[in-house]
Each structure stands twice: as C-alpha cells, then as structure tokens.
C-alpha cells in the first residue's frame, strides 16, 4: 500500500529566503506587471473625464495631483515601471540568448538602477507642493 504526501505550494513560499536572482526577478516582474496593467485601467478611467468636458478633465487631474498620496504613489509607479522596463530589457536579452551567464548580475543592476532612478525623481515628483 502506498500513498503519497503532497507538501503543497504554501511551503514553497516559505522558502523565499532560498530563492535565487532569477526567481526574484520573476516575482518582481510579475508583481510590477500586474501593478502596471492595474494602473493602465485606472489611468484610462481617470482620463475618461476628458469625455465629459475639458474643465472636468483639468480639474480632476489637478486636484489629484495636489494630493500628496497621489504624488507618493506616482513615485511608486515610477519605481515599478522603471524596474519592469529594466528587467524587461534584461528578459529581452535573455530571449535573444545574449549574456545568459550574466543574467543574475543584470538583475542586480536593474535593482540598483531602479533605486537610483526612483530617488533621483523624488524632487521632481514631490516638488511644487
């Protein structure tokens, strides 16, 4: 008689500490991808105010932009987009079979560059309050 034991997926995620660069890249890319598509839907929804009238559009945008939360969230969005783009480029290289040996370094580079871009853009994004 035999019967086997399935440890399930949950356990996997308990192992995050043991993930390697490629797996982190995968998770982050997935996460940022979802955020971006989510944002695209919201973005179009917000912009839809333009179909009502020019004034409503201007007002909606400006009142949103005057909120600190929105600006902070925008920094987040930039970070997310920057990572997705940079890692996206890394993935495109991987798809082309270029520099596979350095894929982990490319991931770290993408992380660092994302950080730098994000910090550098904070003044522009949060400025003018």
């Amino acid at each position: 008689m035999s019967q086997s034991y399935d440890r399930g997926l949950i356990e996997d995620f308990g192992r995050w500490k043991e993930f390697s660069a490629g797996m982190w890249a995968w998770i982050f890319h997935k996460f940022t991808g979802w955020v971006l598509i989510g944002y695209l839907f919201t973005h179009v929804a917000v912009l839809s105010s333009a179909t009502v009238s020019g004034e409503v559009y201007t007002q909606t945008l400006q009142s949103l932009e005057s909120l600190l939360v929105v600006r902070v969230l925008e920094v987040g969005l930039l970070a997310v987009a920057a990572f997705h783009i940079l890692n996206g480029i890394r993935l495109l290289f991987v798809d082309l079979g270029i520099g596979l040996e350095a894929q982990d370094k490319a991931f770290y580079a993408a992380m660092v560059a994302t950080g730098v871009i994000t910090i550098a853009s904070i003044p522009t994004f949060l400025g003018g309050i």
Binding site: M1, S2, Q3, S4, Y5, D6, R7, L9, E11, D12, R15, K17, E18, F19, S20, A21, G22, M23, A25, W26, L91, V94, D95, L96, G97, L100, E101, Q103, D104
Partner: protein, 287 residues
C-alpha cells in the same frame, strides 16, 4: 611482468566556448568553496567533529511517521564526507528504516537528488564541508513524497517520455555510421549529459504551478534531438511542434533556477530560449 600495458584514456575533445564558460564558472565556484572549506576546517577544530543532520521523515504506514517530522542524527565527520555518506552512516548505524535512493555514488545514476539546506543537490556530489551545519535534508519539493526522502518520479518520467526522446530518422547508411560534424556534436554535447535526476524540475516554480509543463529536463531532451543534424530537417520541424505545445517552451519564465541546480552543468535556460527562437523562426516561415 606486466600483464597489461597502460591505458590511455584522456579526454581529447575540442574545446568549445560553452565548455570553457562553464569551466570558468565551475572553477570560480570551486575557489569560493575552497574558502568555505577553510572556514569549515577551522570550525571543525572547535567542534567535536560530528555533523548534525536534520532529516525529513514520513511513512504513510508507520505510526508516528504518518505526520511528517524531522529526525536529528549526529554523524561523525570524516574528511571527504558527502551528504550521501552521512545518510548512509545514519541509516546503517542509527535507523535502518531511513529511506533514500542512491546507487552509483558518483553523480551518474541521478537517484539521489535531494533538497539539502534549501537547494536541490545530488547527495553524493555534495561535500559536507561545503554546507552550513546543521544540515537539513528533505525530499525534492514539488513532488509527492512516498516515504522519507523518496519522491514519486512517475510524473517526471512521463514528461521526459512525452517529448519522443528517441532518435528517429529514415535515412541510414548501411553498414557504416552516419556522419556528424564535430561542431554539431559539440552543440548537443551538454544536452546529452542529463542524468534524469529531476533537480531542475523540482526547482522550477512554473513546473510547480503547471503540472503539465514539460519542464526543463524534458525540453532539454527535446533540444538534444532537435539540434542533432543527423535527424534531418523534417524531423526537426516535428520536434519543434512537440516543444511548442501549450505547455511546452512558452511556459518557461526564464527563472534560471533549473540551470543553477543542474548537477551536470547543463545550460538549460539557454537551451529552452534557443528552442523558443527556433520555434518562432519556423513559424514565421509559414507567413
């Protein structure tokens, strides 16, 4: 008197860039390891030369083992000891019911891929000094556990066998071998080294989520044939169809963990990616 003369059996194969990349990688890993070993050796003098193993135990039939648990074994350490050696010691001296697959002890049979300190490794090819102690040993993730460290390999075998993993061609010269260029043999060389250990499959999150995903090993097997010029163009097209199926190459998310754990240093991700490009190329031809 000498009854035999010396045998000359050195490898004299032409170097490929692929090989040397891997060689460099391995050599740099070795250097890291050497440092670690030194540290471990220093640690050793402080410790009492026993290594503690925490081993996953489960048996569907035995009281007390029905609920998975970890058992601890204290194994006397000897120079050169591998994880497999330690397990064998624990089994032969402490608990003969400790169950794990093993046979060759030299990384060719592929029976003892285990989850050691959070990573898929071959027990026989992993030196104790290269690990952090205590050493935690579990069965491969993403496979059903049959007992202790033994997982059910059926699914893995099914995936391997679903890619028509056998040479097929209609044009065979009679009485002599087919010709194959050195370059072509070099191209498939790494892919032919797979020992079916399933470490790669176990490390891949996509394979964990999608049970039908062929997985890196099976795709690599397909690569081994698709890229072999001896099979001819028609067969190559057929092979690309196989790996292009819904749960074939497109599922790979280039996580690279398969490549990282492969005990035979097969550049799996690279092979998968190359097949994706080949498949796209061959599809484009029809447009």
């Amino acid at each position: 008197m000498s009854t035999q003369i010396k045998e000359r059996d050195t490898e004299t194969e032409s170097e490929s860039s692929e090989e040397s990349e891997h060689q460099t990688r391995r050599l740099s890993e070795k250097r890291e390891r050497a440092d670690m070993k030194e540290r471990a050796d220093n640690d050793l003098s402080e410790h009492d030369e026993t290594v503690r193993l925490k081993v996953f135990r489960y048996d569907p039939e035995v009281e007390g083992k029905k609920d998975p648990r970890f058992d601890t074994f204290e194994v006397p350490f000897t120079k050169g000891m591998t994880v497999l050696d330690a397990l064998i010691y624990a089994r032969d001296h402490f608990d003969s019911s400790l169950t794990f697959r093993h046979s060759c002890r030299q990384a060719v049979c592929g029976s003892d891929a285990l989850f050691v300190n959070g990573r898929q490794r071959l027990g026989c090819k992993t030196q104790m000094v290269d690990l952090e102690w205590p050493v935690r040993i579990e069965p491969l993730p993403h496979a059903d556990v049959v007992k202790d460290l033994i997982v059910d390999m059926e699914h893995f075998y099914d995936q391997m066998e679903s890619v028509e993993p056998y040479f097929q061609t209609n044009e065979l010269p009679s009485g002599e071998e087919q010709r194959q260029s050195r370059e072509n043999r070099e191209k498939v060389k790494m892919s032919t080294r797979c020992i079916w250990c399933s470490a790669c499959m176990s490390s891949c999150n996509v394979a964990a989520g999608d049970n039908e995903y062929l997985g890196p090993a099976a795709i690599n097997k397909a690569y081994r044939f698709a890229m072999d010029e001896r099979e001819g163009e028609d067969m190559k097209a057929h092979r690309l169809n196989i790996i292009e199926q819904e749960h074939g190459v497109w599922r790979c998310q280039t996580q690279f963990s398969c490549t990282e754990v492969c005990p035979k240093d097969i550049p799996l991700t690279e092979h998968i990616q190359e097949l994706k490009r080949e498949a796209v190329k061959s599809n484009l031809k029809f447009w």
